[in-house]
């Protein structure tokens, strides 16, 4: 079991170093970092001085090691466009994105599993079929159109909910939260729905098909024969066995949560990391792009690790096999 965890850790570290290398190459070769930092009138001496201070006069591998060391301490240099440390920009915008992503993942998972189970149990029901058809359309709709549609209905026509921003936020230490004010909560609703919708349809369809599969297996038939009530079979026996593939896909989908967060944040002018990244791309703000890339890779690695650990918790076979160093 320890070997299993250690191997996941090692793989994650390799991915992180590879991504850091790409980020560093971008920083080093896209545009001229010195020209971007000093003004037009800087003298050659100024430039050389800055190059020495940034370590740009040293060999490439040494520079990369410096970059890695700084990145480990959360230092990604200074934004070309805003002239502030990238780490400060990221820290400032992190809470908005984390709250949005976590809430929408929660929304998608809870509602997705519930609807998926319902659609599987009432396979021929009218409501179940309506839900399935709707989810098919939902998969083909681009995220930004869903967001715009929600804005049009709930913000423009009905005027129930705000269409942009986070509303009022409360500061707790360096973290800002929109969860404690009424306007903050109202502002969260539409972005969370937009971001969660795609995940919701995906998880729902997956739970339904897995559940149908499990319900056909022998141990469910035996449980029925033993006279166990249908509810208990469905939730204690069947649902638990559908969770392994669901956890895998939900973990893998984190990538698309981040991708759709970029879009959602732009639609709702949400002051998060995704909007920061889109701005950085528009103005070729390389340090911010590089830092975002490393950040995303870091989140990936952590979530992959958590997914692996969730397997261990969910699947006793893995726990039994792992000590022998199997697989």
């Amino acid at each position: 079991m320890l070997a299993y965890v250690l191997r996941s850790l090692a793989q994650g570290a390799v991915v992180l170093v590879a991504v850091a290398f790409i980020a560093f190459s971008m920083f080093r070769f896209v545009g001229d970092p010195i020209a971007n930092m000093v003004g037009q009138e800087a003298s050659m001496a100024d430039r050389e001085e800055l190059a020495r201070r940034l370590g740009l006069d040293q060999p490439f591998p040494i520079q990369f090691l410096h970059f890695l060391g700084n990145a480990l301490q959360g230092d990604f240099g200074i934004s070309y466009r805003q002239g502030r440390p990238v780490s400060a920009l990221i820290a400032e915008r992190l809470p908005a994105t984390v709250e949005l992503a976590v809430l929408s993942a929660l929304f998608a998972t809870v509602l997705g599993v519930a609807l998926g189970v319902y659609a599987a149990i009432r396979r021929r029901g009218v409501l179940a079929n309506a839900v399935m058809t709707l989810s098919l359309v939902g998969v083909s709709l681009p995220t930004f159109l869903i967001g715009i549609g929600l804005i049009y209905v709930f913000a423009v026509e009905l005027r129930w909910l705000p269409s942009f921003g986070r509303g009022e936020t409360v500061r707790i230490g360096w973290w800002t939260t929109g969860l404690l004010t009424w306007s903050g909560l109202q502002s969260l609703i539409l972005p969370v729905l937009t971001l969660g919708f795609f995940q919701l349809t995906l998880i729902m369809r997956l739970v339904r098909s897995e559940m149908l599969e499990v319900m056909r297996s022998d141990f469910i038939r035996f449980a029925r024969a033993r006279g166990i009530p249908a509810r208990v079979i469905e939730f204690r026996h069947a649902l638990r066995n559908t969770m392994i593939p669901v956890v895998t896909i939900a973990g893998l989908q984190l990538g698309s949560v981040i991708a759709f967060a970029i879009v959602t944040e732009t639609v709702f002018q949400w002051p998060g990391l995704g909007a920061l990244f889109v701005n950085a791309v528009q103005f070729a703000d390389v340090p911010v792009m590089a830092a975002y890339l490393v950040f995303v890779a870091f989140v990936f690695v952590v979530v992959n690790l958590l997914t692996d650990l969730a397997y261990l918790a969910l699947d006793p076979r893995l726990r039994a096999a792992a000590p022998k160093g199997a697989r």
């Binding site: 681009p142 930004f144 049009y152 732009t266 950085a280």
Partner: protein, 315 residues
């Protein structure tokens, strides 16, 4: 002998045989496939023929009249009295023409980027599957990393690098090509995986051994013998990817890192239309949005159908 020859019907023509083939049989019996291919073909034909059928050239300022600006659909303009099928934008541009020309760009980027990622993916997949060893390990590792990052993120990165490398004056002209490159580069890994898997199966078959025995070079065996046998799954992925590429292009343009307003794709039109959502001019956003959804949905459904037909295991 004589009897058998008599009972055999005259060999049917090519058209009739095609009509009776498995493929067209399931096409004729799938209302979804017929409807979605009709919608997709209509939209593609309209986009290709845009210069012929559009009432005006939306990129030619001489044809636009500012007085026509913000005319709602199907109602005469209060000043000029002209009527527009889908209304006009603030510059007096006919939305119907703008959508035809926009769909043209969206489809061009979609098709070109799919072809680009197909070429890259097939080449790398064939090489990995046929050559094996180090080459395979390296290519598939890169594909793994690429696949774990969302396509849109990769495309945004490529675009950001482009903004940093190309001088601003040349950026607008190059945007179309960069979009194709960015979207193509973000989708090759799926082809590589599928082609590699199929190649590994095909490689062990007798016909490949035979081709090698008569002394053909590995390159020739790969291109002339293995490649035709891996094209089936590739075409399915390509169809579904076409819908994804069109949505990806629209998303990039919507985010403001795609086609500029002077040369709008459907995504750019939606981005422009979003600014008028609050002032009640809904049609500037609605019709390009609907065109995009119809295009993506019909191609998607067609791809789903194609996958089911070409993959007997799922039937």
């Amino acid at each position: 002998m004589n009897q058998r020859a008599q009972s055999q019907p005259t060999p049917p023509g090519l058209l009739a045989r095609a009509w009776d083939s498995d493929f067209l049989w399931s096409f004729r019996h799938s209302p979804v496939a017929i409807l979605s291919s009709l919608v997709a073909l209509t939209l593609i034909a309209a986009a290709v023929l845009a210069p012929v059928i559009a009432p005006q050239n939306p990129f030619d300022p001489a044809q636009l009249d500012l007085m026509d600006g913000l005319t709602p659909p199907m109602t005469p303009n209060e000043v000029t009295g002209r009527t527009f099928l889908l209304g006009t934008d603030p510059q007096g541009r006919d939305m119907y023409s703008a959508i035809l020309y926009g769909a043209r760009i969206s489809l061009l980027v979609g098709f070109a980027s799919v072809v680009f990622s197909m070429v890259v993916g097939i080449t790398l997949g064939l090489a990995a599957g046929y050559l094996g060893g180090r080459v395979e390990a390296l290519i598939m590792r890169i594909a793994d990393i690429q696949l774990s990052f969302p396509a849109i993120l990769v495309a945004l990165l490529v675009f950001g690098i482009f903004r940093g490398v190309v001088p601003p004056a040349q950026q607008e002209a190059a945007t179309l090509w960069v979009l194709i490159l960015a979207i193509g580069l973000s989708n090759w890994a799926q082809y590589a995986r599928t082609v590699r898997a199929t190649t590994m199966v095909e490689k062990s078959k007798v016909y490949v051994d035979a081709a090698r025995l008569i002394g053909l070079k590995p390159f020739v065996v790969m291109i002339k013998h293995v490649l035709p046998n891996v094209m089936g799954p590739v075409l399915v992925i390509a169809t579904i990817n076409l819908a994804l590429a069109i949505i990806e292009e629209a998303t990039l343009s919507f985010l403001g890192v795609g086609m500029p307003p002077t040369q709008p794709s459907l995504g750019t039109l939606i981005r422009i239309g979003q600014q008028f959502l609050f002032s009640g001019e809904w049609w500037i956003l609605f019709s390009p949005g609907l065109a995009l959804v119809l295009l993506a949905l019909s191609i998607n459904l067609l791809g789903d159908w194609l996958r089911d037909v070409l993959n007997p295991r799922l039937r």
